[in-house]
């Protein structure tokens, strides 16, 4: 094997530098959005420290043997489920959700760690040679692995993280090569569930589409019947699910269905976020000069609404730079997924890509008013120690896979 001694061959600078640029942009925006607030003033320093710590973790994961990940898959998955159960008992309640575990001065979200663990274990399961996704049993096992954390996270409840897990599950099944029928089987209950949120008519239309699809595939009556029953059940389950959501999350869903229903309540953030970004114009209002940002028209803008700070103070130019940095990161990860030396590692990369991508999709989408307000952070940019740490960990795994791509299996 020919060994390239250039740095870029052993260490993927594109990925590392793109992510670092995003962290720096995030630090600037965190500084700007918190310098006027009394109790958030230390956020810039905390984020800087978190970055320093997570760089150590990144390099640690970069250097460890690649085999470690396969070995750690099942134990970390089980550990993460335990943590998710633990958080329901001892977790701290912040804005209606019990999603944080704290010890000492440090606190983190088990859901963040569960992302990593689920990626590893699901990739492990799917890459086993005996796993065939045309087999209903295997699809079922994959669903159980993917949906168990979702169920636990729903109990917190944390809507945003649940979406990430569902997306992750679908992406990995898809990458593994699930058949069209399998995809319909997996996807249709979700679609029916969402449709029923909008009302009975949409629910009926979705069910009719499912029946049409079942006729198209012409599988046996028992299987088709069970799938239909599953879909009907999920439609009715939505109601129950909706009721376990905290009121603020219910409001957010209502706001998405009809954004003008409550312009001063739940719709307020969505409107103010758009005003902030739109008023940034082409060049932006300049560092520390965004009046929406400086006057705190948007709550918690250093976390979930950080994109508004960038949009307002750095304008179209700044926003596009951030979006292009993410695009570079995503495309590079996708390319790396086809390079990976085995299916397990390829699936891991797709899993990580999906986690980053869904965060990006939902976070930026809600800031610019395309998607409902669901509180999840923008990777590398938003303030938050445990989020940054886990994202850098994921990046470390990627860099390790890149480093070891040419090693023999």
């Amino acid at each position: 094997m020919r060994i390239n001694y250039k740095l870029n061959d052993r260490f993927d600078l594109t990925i590392f530098l793109t992510a670092s640029a995003l962290v720096v942009i995030g630090l600037i925006a965190i500084y700007s959005s918190t310098q006027n607030t009394l109790n958030q003033k230390g956020n810039f320093d905390k984020q800087l420290i978190s970055w320093g710590i997570s760089l150590f973790v990144l390099f640690f994961l970069y250097t460890i043997p690649i085999k470690t990940f396969k070995l750690a898959a099942l134990p970390s998955y089980i550990f993460s489920l335990l943590l998710l159960m633990l958080v329901l008992v001892i977790g701290r309640k912040i804005s209606g959700a019990r999603s944080w575990i704290g010890f000492g001065g440090f606190s983190f979200q088990p859901a963040e760690f569960a992302k990593l663990a689920t990626i590893l274990y699901l990739s492990d399961f799917l890459s086993r040679s005996e796993t065939v996704l045309d087999n209903l049993k295997d699809i079922f096992i994959a669903l159980v692995i993917g949906m168990t954390p979702v169920a636990l996270i729903m109990l917190e409840p944390d809507l945003g993280s649940s979406f990430v897990f569902i997306g992750l599950l679908l992406a990995l099944l898809f990458w593994k090569g699930i058949s069209l029928f399998g995809l319909v089987l997996v996807l249709s209950p979700g679609i029916v569930a969402v449709a029923s949120l909008f009302g009975t008519i949409y629910f009926v239309i979705a069910i009719v589409l499912v029946i049409a699809a079942l006729f198209f595939f012409k599988r046996d009556v028992f299987l088709s019947g069970s799938i239909l029953a599953l879909n009907l059940a999920s439609g009715f389950f939505v109601d129950t699910f909706y009721n376990i959501l905290s009121p603020h999350q219910q409001k957010r869903i209502q706001t998405f269905i009809d954004p003008n229903a409550d312009p001063l309540g739940s719709g307020y953030n969505a409107i103010q976020a758009k005003v902030a970004i739109g008023s940034g114009g082409f060049w932006g209002k300049g560092f520390l000069h965004g009046n929406q940002t400086q006057l705190q028209f948007i709550p918690e803008q250093w976390t979930d609404f950080i994109f508004c700070v960038i949009g307002e103070e750095w304008g179209f130019i700044g926003s596009v730079v951030v979006i292009l940095l993410f695009a570079i990161l995503f495309l590079r990860l996708l390319r790396l997924a086809t390079f990976a030396k085995n299916e397990f590692l390829s699936l891991i990369i797709i899993g990580i890509l999906t986690v980053f991508f869904i965060h990006f999709l939902v976070n930026v989408g809600m800031a610019i008013g395309i998607l409902p307000v669901i509180g999840i952070p923008l990777p590398f940019v938003s303030y938050g120690g445990s989020s940054l740490l886990i994202n850098m960990t994921l990046l470390g795994i990627i860099l390790n896979i890149h480093r070891s791509r040419k090693e023999s299996a």
Partner: protein, 602 residues
């Protein structure tokens, strides 16, 4: 093998999704930040820059001697900021601020649609002890604070409740009707001078531009206040009212139902306009307590009703002056004409006099208030001709004084009786009309104006309360007023005035108010009251030689004019004339000659 192909296909799907999402987001940002920039930018500015209205200081009132009658005094206003306020404090705060139970929760409910960070006024004019209590218990009273605002004060101790009037919070109906000046919650003059001169008194609002944060909390001035527009104080009005006389009138009436109006004959300036019972204007400085309003409404004496300009009663014997003027001016009698009074007069039935005066001429008929003389006189004058003289004196007309609360009263003519009784209306009605009883109704202000015109020989001005205003540099700007001329001969006035002189200084009906060195000329009256005791009336002017004051006094349900009304007039006249006697400083006001009969507004 097939797995590899699948991977490449699926790779393209991922690729397409990433490119699609990124493209949509970039396009959406282009749309928001470049195409719709102006719209969002305007919204962002509206969001954070707030124009805060600065209510202008209201103009104050000076009396004719430049003494302050109505001023602005700083008062404490207690406010509650709903977002920080704890409603469990309601009961405590209500009791400390002396508010009705449930007032605060009701107020919070009414204002629930507004920002919770905008403070609401729960009490204006809070007393110092409650402010001290708030200050002491600050840390236990989240969301409660106080500011200093201006409210009306009455430093001379003049009540002037009907005259000055009060302001109250603008009603939704008024908001629709008025120009764009007012905002909900603004005060607007409701009655009296405060209402009539609202546009002069209110000044011009100013605007301060401030930066507010997302919770509408002020964080600083916008551009250091370069765009701020300062408010402009309203005009300070100079009233023709004499504070001291007004106070005497109020004290003399002393809560008895009645009214006093005094006018300077040469200028039409109203020096006194008092109505009794009064009410406490301080109670109207902001939100009037419900029980106080109820108390006013339930009072059988109806204190809110301005008796000086709105109560129309028969003028009684004071009306005889008009009959005498008309008869002499028309030439239906001469100064030497005598009519015989045998103590009664027969016209269908017997009309009584208070004595048998024998043969009386016009002067002694006025002096003695002989009814029989005037019973006969009205038939010589004729009803419609009498009415035309009443019109010239403004009787039965709104005088157009500068407060809005004014009634017309009534002087009937033949058309009026035809409408009621038909073509052949009984002429017997006229008999009592000749002595000012029956369907004649005039207000105390009309009587004062009538007396002032007699004093000034038929010439004068439309009565007015405000004579001018002070500008910012305290420079006085007088208003001009419409002149009035009755067009009656001087010799006629000489006769009637001599009769009035004798009422007090001869053997007349009001000799009890005689003063040795000040010659008062007057006429008593007793207005028959079908609902109760008669009303006591007195009109007078003084000094007889060069009149400087004309007064009309009404004391309801008090009986004979000389007994109750005349002493009040005497006290006012004496005070005024003694004060002004040494210097006879009468400036000739600007005169506008008008045709007789079109003297008054209505």
């Amino acid at each position: 093998m097939s797995a590899r192909i699948v991977h490449i296909d699926r790779n393209k799907v991922f690729y397409a999704i990433i490119i699609a999402v990124v493209s949509i987001y970039v396009f959406k940002l282009f749309d928001m930040q470049i195409l719709a920039y102006d719209q969002f930018n305007t919204k962002a500015s509206d969001n954070s820059i707030k124009a805060i209205e600065q209510i202008a200081l209201r103009g104050v009132f000076y009396d004719r001697n430049m003494k302050l009658l109505v001023e602005n005094t700083p008062a404490y206003t207690v406010r509650v900021t709903p977002a920080e306020y704890d409603t469990s404090l309601n009961r405590k705060l209500e009791s400390v601020l002396d508010l009705d139970e449930g007032y605060i929760s009701n107020m919070l409910f009414k204002n629930r649609i507004y920002s919770k960070f905008v403070p609401l006024r729960v009490k204006r004019g809070a007393d110092f002890s409650s402010i001290a209590w708030i200050e002491e218990n600050k840390e236990h009273l989240p969301g409660v604070d106080y500011i200093i605002e201006m409210q009306r004060g009455y430093p001379m101790g003049v009540m002037g409740s009907h005259l000055f009037g009060y302001s109250k919070e603008i009603s939704p109906q008024q908001l629709k009707k008025e120009d764009n000046y007012y905002q909900p919650g603004d005060l607007i003059g409701a009655i009296g001078l405060e209402k009539h001169y609202e546009k002069d008194l209110r000044g011009e609002k100013g605007y301060n531009y401030i930066l507010v944060d997302s919770r509408r909390r002020e964080v600083g001035k916008y551009k250091n206040g370069v765009n701020d527009v300062p408010s402009q104080k309203g005009k300070d009005l100079v009233l023709s009212i004499d504070g001291e006389l007004q106070k005497i009138a109020e004290e003399e009436l002393n809560g008895r139902p009645g009214a006093v109006a005094a006018i300077e004959p040469s200028t039409g300036e109203v020096m006194v306009l008092a109505s009794s019972p009064e009410f406490d204007l301080n109670q109207f400085s902001y939100v009037t307590p419900k029980d106080y309003l109820k108390q006013l409404m339930d009072d059988p004496l109806k204190p809110q009703y301005n008796r000086a300009t709105m109560s129309a009663h028969p003028p009684g014997s004071t009306f005889k002056l008009l009959c005498a003027l008309a008869a002499l001016d028309l030439g239906v009698i001469t100064p030497s004409t005598t009519l015989y009074c045998g103590g009664s007069f027969n016209y269908g039935r017997t009309f009584k006099c208070h004595g048998a005066h024998g043969a009386v001429n016009v002067i002694s008929a006025i002096e003695k208030s002989c009814n029989v003389f005037f019973y006969q006189l009205i038939f010589k004058i004729g009803l419609d001709r009498l009415k035309s003289y009443a019109d010239r004196f403004g009787l039965g007309h709104k005088l157009g004084i500068d407060i809005n609360e004014e009634v017309r009263g009534l002087i009937p003519n033949s058309a009026y009786y035809e409408r009621i009784y038909g073509k052949d209306w009984p002429k017997g009605i006229l008999v009592s009309l000749g002595i000012g009883q029956g369907e004649v109704n005039v207000t105390p202000l009309q009587l004062a104006n009538y007396c002032a015109l007699i004093a000034n020989n038929g010439k004068g001005f439309v009565p007015h309360i405000v004579k001018g205003y002070l500008d910012e540099d305290k420079k006085y700007h007088p208003y001009t007023f419409k002149a009035v001329d009755t067009g009656i001969k001087q010799s006629v006035f000489d006769m009637v005035k001599e009769g009035m002189f004798r009422v007090v200084n001869g053997a007349g009906t009001a000799t009890n108010v005689r003063i040795s060195d000040i010659h008062i000329a007057g006429k008593t009256g007793t207005a028959q009251n079908p609902h109760g005791k008669d009303h006591s009336l007195f009109v007078a002017f003084a000094p007889y030689e060069h009149p400087t004051i004309a007064v009309a006094v009404l004391v309801e349900n008090a009986g004979f004019g000389a007994t109750w009304a005349a002493p009040i007039a005497k006290k006012i006249i004496e005070t005024y004339v003694r004060r002004t006697m040494p210097k006879s400083t009468q400036t000739e006001p600007q005169k506008i000659v008008v045709e007789p009969g079109e003297n008054f507004a209505d």
